[in-house]
Symmetry: C2
């Protein structure tokens, strides 16, 4: 799947991913009104609103982008109907040929991580049959529990030709509280980065990159530079660009000399583009067109940095 | 909610929690056969099987125990039908008066953690209405992202009178890989423990314990002893007893002198008790009775340690 991701990034000349993190406040009134009319001001109505919102944005952007990254929390908050909207979104994006990165940040003890892995990127056995519970191509994984919490995901990646991105240095303001602390003179995120190399060593695709990637926030460019060199075969998923403050110029060192090695996410900056002054002329009615323009602008901006 | 948990622990004289982690391999053949007969060998059939399995165990044990801890991964692996079985299990346990600890190990950047918190222990707004997506009383939280990943959960705890347990030292074999590494002479888990104290300082219940608890595995008793002293007002959720190797004698130091401060989880040891030689005489048909006996034995064992 890392080969498919790199192929699409290369073909579309777009090392970007659109974060499908639909807060209800991003969804234009007319979309909410139609969904509430059909399903009521209920969890089902909210789920319908975010699904219709997603669908229009995907329809308007799928030809430009290699991948989407739905953030499952934004769906899970609406309970079971929300989780159903997540599953539908994943399925729809795959039908449009997109690589789907499930931003689930799971991680647990071994047998439990196995359950998450088979549920999201693998197959679960039910009697004599097997099924896919959810159908992402990649998921994000939290490393706090160490190797036996991550390995089950890696094993499923190998069996299923899927991938993961392990949290190394996250984009949020307090990520340094634990991640930056020095251990034998090295910050924790470097130790995690070294482990990412180890975990990924057996899953190098024909593109030269591993199916085990890393999450490194755009908001910490100096650390990104160090981590890029430390993990040469690791694809880096970069959150924090745009609304969180990361700029393209900061991202130069997240790419390898081959112009590959990083894929930059924007969520709010794309899906709620119509709310920005820059794209306000589209109007709320044409929110998906505003998102398309924001994608075009983002691709140009990011390509200037690699 | 920490007051309610402590009240039930005291009244039932049982500092234990039953982990509802229903692997399909734990479910007796007759339960699976009935579920598959009704819903087919499908995700729905698997979800029905684990729900019926859970229900019988809860019916057989709820009068003895203060709390249950469903592990959401075991449900999520069956996709949306599995998540529905999770929601039903939570609801049913609450109808039986049990405190429900959702073992979800979520944690993300601020706005995303907020979505998880409102979804699992709070209320989400949909237009002019509010709903509860899931309805746990406590959830487990991963601290890797630092304060701004945890604080949204704490805020919702305060508003909703709910609680969390933050992963400090997990029970799995490789938990030491990062958690035990020394930072300024102190292991990472102690730094996390200190933060748990800080996060919980504003949520001390009338029982004297905070709504912000900690997860400390039974498999590391020496570290449990240190963490008990470091976090005097923190309730400790203790996984790893029984099947993972933790023994009651190891747990003496997880309790405070008041006999409180810790609640010990057993999952497989209780819900799959009928598979153990010790309880084999119950037979698979009476698996719930076997679970009840295992709960009685566990309570006696744990009470010998406090």
């Amino acid at each position: 799947m890392i080969d498919e991701l790199v192929k699409q990034i290369t073909e579309k000349n777009a090392p970007v991913v659109v974060g499908l993190d639909p807060m209800l406040s991003y969804v234009p009134e007319q979309v909410k009104a139609a969904a509430f009319e059909e399903k009521g001001e209920t969890l089902e109505g909210a789920a319908e609103a975010i699904w219709q919102f997603n669908k229009a944005i995907v329809d308007a952007t799928y030809d430009l982008i290699p991948a989407v990254k739905p953030q499952i929390a934004m769906y899970e908050q609406f309970g079971v109907p929300g989780v159903l909207a997540f599953a539908k979104t994943v399925e729809y994006c795959k039908s449009k040929g997109l690589v789907v990165i499930g931003d689930i940040k799971r991680g647990d003890i071994g047998s439990t991580s196995t359950a998450y892995a088979v549920g999201h990127i693998g197959q679960v056995a039910v009697g004599s049959k097997t099924y896919r519970g959810f159908e992402e191509d990649f998921v994000t994984v939290n490393p706090y529990l160490g190797t036996d919490g991550v390995k089950p995901f890696v094993d499923v990646c190998k069996e299923e030709n899927k991938g993961i991105f392990v949290l190394v240095k996250t984009s949020n303001p307090s990520s340094g509280e634990f991640q930056d602390r020095l251990i034998d003179g090295k910050p924790l995120y470097e130790l995690v980065g070294e482990k990412v190399n180890e975990w990924g060593a057996e899953c190098i695709g024909s593109c030269g990159y591993s199916a085990v990637g890393a999450v490194v926030g755009a908001t910490y460019p100096e650390m990104g530079k160090v981590l890029r060199k430390l993990m040469p075969k690791t694809y880096i998923l970069v959150p924090g660009y745009g609304a969180q403050g990361g700029k393209a110029a900061d991202l130069v060192h997240y790419f390898n000399p081959d112009g590959l090695g990083a894929i930059v996410n924007s969520s709010r900056g794309i899906i709620a583009a119509y709310k920005q002054e820059k794209y306000a002329s589209f109007g709320a009615a044409n929110y998906a067109d505003a998102s398309r323009q924001a994608v075009i602008d983002m691709i140009e901006d990011i390509n200037s940095a690699r």
